[in-house]
Assembly symmetry: D2
């Protein structure tokens, strides 16, 4: 009866993001997940890794037990 | 800092739904709203009116401070 | 990293509610669950059963991977 | 009909926290707010200030249009 959800506060890409514009990416995540939208949040490659940058989610879609995020990368951490 | 949203348990159409398929409708609602997805919920024309039917939300989209619902009407209450 | 919770729109008691006042009950549910608060919702004994009444949740507590609801039964369906 | 909520990802104390144990604090926030529970999150004095430490929310209560957080401060940032 209940609808399972997951509250997320950072974007973990696992390298699966698809570039769809200048600094714009789409990422599919399994299950229904709630993220802060329109607010800068950390973007990481894996849960354990350091943030690789900061993104702002512009669109969230829930369908077929998946969540699609469209986010803009607004800053990138230098890696060395 | 926080992100406002609204928890909703029924679909209130206010007659603004757009038919996009056999029994499939799209409805835009103001603000970010969370609804149960994949579960039968009441569909009403106004908050005060009796349910006009039962729908199942198949897709929820958040963007630009609006929520788009795609729902299938699975039953219709007879009105007389 | 994410925090699982469940969106619920009705109270399913499974007969485990504890009376703590005139029409006031406390119910513990497993896991973190989000319910509409301050709004009349259906109260059922099991998921499949007909509503046994209408309740208004006055307080929700999350702790130790459990949810405690305090709700007032505002109407009771007659059973015969 | 809907229930207004706010998604929060950090604790902003505004200096209103009450110490209730060794490193344990209770904080009342206005309105119904959703926070990650059981997960380390930033604790700040104001929205604009740097994090003053890291806390883990152990309990969230929603009642009377307020949210009460019980959180443990697990680390404190040095301020000089």
């Amino acid at each position: 009866m209940g609808m399972p959800f997951e509250l997320n506060t950072i974007i973990v890409t696992k390298g699966r993001e698809k570039r769809v514009g200048e600094n714009l990416f789409v990422l599919e995540k399994e299950g229904y997940r709630l993220y802060p939208i329109d607010i800068p949040i950390d973007v990481r490659k894996t849960i354990e890794s350091d943030p690789c940058g900061t993104g702002v989610i512009q669109k969230i879609e829930w369908q077929n037990n998946s969540t699609w995020l469209t986010y803009q990368l607004i800053s990138l951490n230098s890696t060395n």
